[in-house]
Structure formats: structure tokens, C-alpha cells
């Protein structure tokens, strides 16, 4: 068993703290919201069945199970979520691996930033539907 499994659920609850607004939860970080929103948006367009995504998420969770678990659990979860989504898009040939890698590096190096997602921003690449 990993150390992570030996941690108590209580410890995780304490580390996270109580929800900000009663019983309501919000995303911890914009990238986590983005990851969730992307998957649900494409799913709603009928580009895949939910279990096609879920089966890849299960694989990611298994692969990740014994990795360093210092990372906070919210972050781990949505990182796995992204990895599953990338795999799904690749398997469905909806996204080119190389293009994805290039685009990721452009964001990492600051050649692009989130301002391209702001509606009405000059230089945005968005199609509005």
C-alpha cells in the first residue's frame, strides 16, 4: 500500500478545509475548471460516449496510483482527467499529438496566454457559436 492510502480521510479533509459556501463546491483552480468544462462540452456534442472517457480515466488512475503523492489530491484528480481526455482525443483522431505538444509549449513559454480565451479580445482564435 502506498503512503497515500495510509493517510486518513480526516487528514485530507483537514488539509482541504471546509467548502467556502456551505455545501457548495467550486473548482480549486481555473485549469481544473477548464479541464472539466472541456470534457463535458465535447461530450455534450456527442463526440464520445461517457464510458469511453471513463475507461481512460480509470487507466490513468491506475497508472498514477503508485506515483509520488505529495501533490494535492484535487490537482492529481484533474491532471489524470486531462491525461484521459488527451488519450481519448488521440484515439478518436480528434487532435494531433504534435500540435498539442507544440501548443502546450507555447503556453509554457509564454508565447500564448489565457487572454486568447477572453471574449472580444483581439487576436483571439475562438470561433463563437
Amino acid at each position: 500500500m502506498t503512503d497515500e492510502v495510509d493517510r486518513t480521510i480526516e487528514e485530507i479533509k483537514d488539509a482541504v478545509g471546509p467548502p467556502q459556501d456551505g455545501d457548495r463546491l467550486v473548482f480549486d483552480a481555473p485549469w481544473q475548471a477548464r479541464a472539466f468544462g472541456l470534457v463535458v462540452t465535447l461530450y455534450r456534442q456527442g463526440l464520445f460516449e461517457w464510458n469511453e472517457f471513463q475507461s481512460r480515466l480509470i487507466e490513468q488512475v491506475q497508472v498514477d496510483a503508485f506515483e509520488d503523492q505529495e501533490e494535492d489530491p484535487e490537482s492529481v484528480y484533474y491532471r489524470q482527467w486531462i491525461a484521459a481526455f488527451e488519450q481519448l482525443l488521440a484515439d478518436k483522431e480528434l487532435l494531433d499529438d504534435v500540435a498539442l505538444e507544440e501548443r502546450t509549449l507555447e503556453f509554457a513559454h509564454g508565447e500564448r496566454d489565457a487572454s486568447e480565451f477572453v471574449v472580444g479580445e483581439e487576436g483571439g482564435h475562438g470561433h463563437t457559436h
Partner: protein, 205 residues
């Protein structure tokens, strides 16, 4: 699906942005649509949906029966439809049976009725402990002491079915309206890691 793409080593923030950027470019997504999903799940879709269904089941015997027999249809009737193709199973806590939900494989959650999953639900300890030692986990981690003569049923989510617990209506709520009842139903009670009215355990026994 064995090879891991190189980008998986990158910061997830950059990966999420790159995905959004490319998918928008390809016309498969729009920032508006993504933002709408996010705000829906943060603002509108949450445990209050499940709570309304629970309160209705407590006050309307026909609805209760329907909810337990065909959870998907009964929840759909209240407008809580979600991930199509996924059925909802609703299990009722009684004085003999205590139900609890978990997803051992990937932390899938009944989003349309309970909203976003809490952090601990997604954690490896919860996912492994609840299945192996439910009684102990409920007692030690959630302060829920289920007596030995009550059977504990752990429902592990599969690709086809999500679950929700119909908690027991606490004593002393007889005169309350459906709306008032909905207010006392918590997310944790519908996961099965809290018993409503437990703070008044003595009254319930």
C-alpha cells in the same frame, strides 16, 4: 493505450490551455460553452438537486417508490439529467440497512444530483478503505457509528450506473414542508457518510 504522450510531463495548466486553444480552433468547443458548463456546475448543479429529490421522496410515497425503482426516470422528472446513458440507482437507508457510495476505480460521481465531488471522495484512502472496511471507516473517519445489527451495503460505481443514497428522515421533522426538509439534506448524507440527525442520536434510538 500504453504509450504516454510527452506533454503529460508538462504543467497541467498549460496542457488544459493548449487543449482549449486547439479545440476552439477546430470548432469543437467555444469558450462560452466551456464557461457555461463550469458556472452551471459551480452555481446551479449541486447537492441541492439531490436534496430536493430526497425531500420529495420523504413527503410523497409514490415518488419515493418511483425513485427507488427507476432512479433515472424519477430524477429526470425533476430536471436532473446528466451524463446520458448512465443510469442512476437510488438506495434507501432503513433501520436495517445503511448504504454508502464509492467509486473505487476513478472517482466517478453522480454529478447531476450531487454536483462536484468533494476532495476526500476522490482520494485513494476513501476509495480503498470504504470497500474493505466500511463499518470501521464510517466510524473512524466520519464519526458514523453503524451498529453491528445494521447491514452496510457499499455501492461501487460502474461505467453504467451511478448511485445515490436516500437517507432516513430524521425524527422531529414531521411538520416540516418539502422545502424545509430539502434544506436539512446534505451531500454527505446522500453519499452515505453522514446520518441526518446524528447529533441527536439519542432521540433516534
Amino acid at each position: 493505450m500504453s504509450e504516454t504522450p510527452q506533454v503529460s510531463k508538462a504543467d497541467p495548466k498549460d496542457r488544459a490551455r493548449a487543449l482549449q486553444s486547439l479545440l476552439i480552433e477546430q470548432g469543437l468547443a467555444s469558450t462560452d460553452a466551456i464557461d457555461e458548463v463550469v458556472s452551471k456546475y459551480e452555481q446551479e448543479i449541486g447537492p441541492m438537486n439531490g436534496a430536493r429529490a430526497v425531500a420529495k421522496a420523504w413527503t410523497d410515497p409514490d415518488y419515493r417508490e418511483w425513485l427507488l425503482e427507476d432512479g433515472s426516470a424519477a430524477l429526470d422528472d425533476l430536471g436532473y439529467t446528466g451524463m446520458e446513458g448512465v443510469d442512476m440507482g437510488v438506495y434507501e437507508n432503513t433501520s436495517d440497512v445503511h448504504n454508502v457510495i464509492v467509486c473505487t476505480l476513478c472517482s466517478c460521481f453522480p454529478w447531476p444530483v450531487l454536483g462536484l465531488p468533494p476532495t476526500w471522495y476522490k482520494s485513494p484512502p476513501y476509495r480503498s478503505k470504504m470497500v474493505k472496511h466500511p463499518r470501521r471507516t464510517l466510524r473512524e473517519e466520519f464519526d458514523v457509528d453503524v451498529s453491528e445489527d445494521v447491514e452496510i451495503r457499499v455501492w461501487d460505481t460502474s461505467a453504467e450506473v451511478r448511485y445515490m443514497v436516500l437517507p432516513q428522515r430524521p425524527a422531529g421533522t414531521e411538520g416540516m414542508s418539502e422545502e424545509e426538509l430539502a434544506d436539512i439534506v446534505t451531500r454527505d448524507s446522500m453519499i452515505g457518510v453522514e446520518r441526518l440527525g446524528d447529533e441527536h442520536v439519542e432521540d433516534l434510538r
